[in-house]
């Protein structure tokens, strides 16, 4: 896990400490607010058209009376070998070499939905309708993120608008990006500090240091060979493996 890259490329990585996650859902709310993610009505949720770039999966563990609730926040895993990328016929989703992000270019998307069908993590969402942000919700839309229209696929971007904002600020100030300068909305909102974000290729970053020789780090469905960028630190009795 101590990969080094000389070309100045980054590999944005998130660490989710499952022992710290209390399942409060602040990350989900923060993500909705930051990324203008539409809120699906009840009938749409029933039709499997809900949209959450980030979701909390809840599992019960153990037998009564010793029952524990376990929470796993699941978002786009930003796979190094993403199954969604090769199936897109119009290159609307492709791999961003600069930051290791799984890029989604809305303007190119023609809505074939192949990517969502090929995603083993089910983190891609299709806009079946133009999103409606009823008054006064329309006033809190983030101007840094475009509201996606009908017929377009969307998913977690690792808050690329915040990455770009930090990169631009660093560039204007004539310095390189510091570790911890980029904070996706979910990471910022997490009250227990269960989420961590940084560049894994930078050996001095907190993320790289934490992952080095960390026996607790696992990735979701790692056997598929998708090389995800999200690491889960499992607890002693956690079911994730």
């Amino acid at each position: 896990m101590s990969e080094q890259d000389a070309s100045g490329k980054r590999r944005w990585t998130m660490i989710v400490d499952l022992d710290k996650c209390s399942g409060c859902g602040a990350c989900v709310v923060a993500c909705h607010a930051e990324n203008n993610v539409p809120i699906a009505a009840e009938d749409q949720v029933v039709a499997d058209r809900s949209q959450h770039w980030m979701r909390i999966e809840r599992y019960w563990e153990g037998e009564y009376p010793d029952v524990k609730a376990r929470f796993v926040p699941v978002l786009c895993q930003h796979c190094g070998e993403a199954p969604c990328e090769p199936v897109c016929p119009v290159y609307a989703t492709y791999h961003d070499e600069r930051g290791g992000l799984n890029a989604m270019i809305y303007a190119r998307c023609v809505g074939t939905r192949y990517c969502a069908n090929n995603c083993p993590y089910r983190v891609r969402f299709f806009n079946y309708f133009d999103p409606v942000f009823a008054e006064p919700l329309n006033n809190q839309l983030n101007p840094d993120v475009t509201v996606r229209s009908a017929g377009v696929m969307e998913k977690c971007t690792f808050c690329v608008q915040r990455i770009r904002r930090a990169e631009h600020t660093a560039k204007v100030e004539g310095r390189t990006l510091a570790d911890g300068e980029v904070l996706p909305a979910c990471v910022q909102a997490c009250p227990t500090g269960a989420l961590m974000f940084g560049d894994r290729y930078d050996a001095a970053s907190a993320v790289a240091k934490l992952l080095e020789h960390n026996g607790r780090a696992v990735r979701l469905l790692e056997t598929l060979g998708t090389d995800p960028s999200i690491y889960y630190l499992k607890g002693g009795t956690s079911h994730v493996d």
């Binding site: 600069r98 809305y106 475009t146 690329v160 904002r165 631009h168 560039k171 204007v172």
Partner: protein
Amino acid sequence: MSRPTRVWITVIGLVVLLVFIGPFIFGVLASVPNYEQPIVEFSHKRHVQNAGIDCLYCHSGATRSPVSGIPSVEKCMGCHEHVLSGEAPIVKLQEYWENGEPISWTRVYQLPRYVHYPHHVHVSAGLNCETCHGNVGEMDIVTPAQIPNMGWCIRCHQGEENAVELMDCLNCHY
């Protein structure tokens, strides 16, 4: 051909012309963008040439933020409380000020959807305002110097040293 027949042919011809060609002409005229501002008398030329004000005095965000910004009514009043305060256009401005209303200026440069353009990065890379916006100091009513579409962006970006990075989709589209 008798005279009445010719008159009829002319009349029918005109009706056909109106019905079929009229909408086209109307459509073309309607699609011509109108850059008239809520305070019609506002002139960039006057502010730049007569008063010698720098772009950045009013559009101060350009060096430090993605948006260059439109000055607030407060900023306008900062000068116009004293400068030309009795004149008709300034009285209009004072009305906005007294009612506590922002001026809804007409947008001149409209980027396509899904595109984000940071002003500060371009200014720090050494671009002048005029490079994209034309010589605003010569314009009374500002009209776009060019349509800001992707081909126009690429024309600069492809010649740069880090063209691969600059031409990456995710660089601007999110």
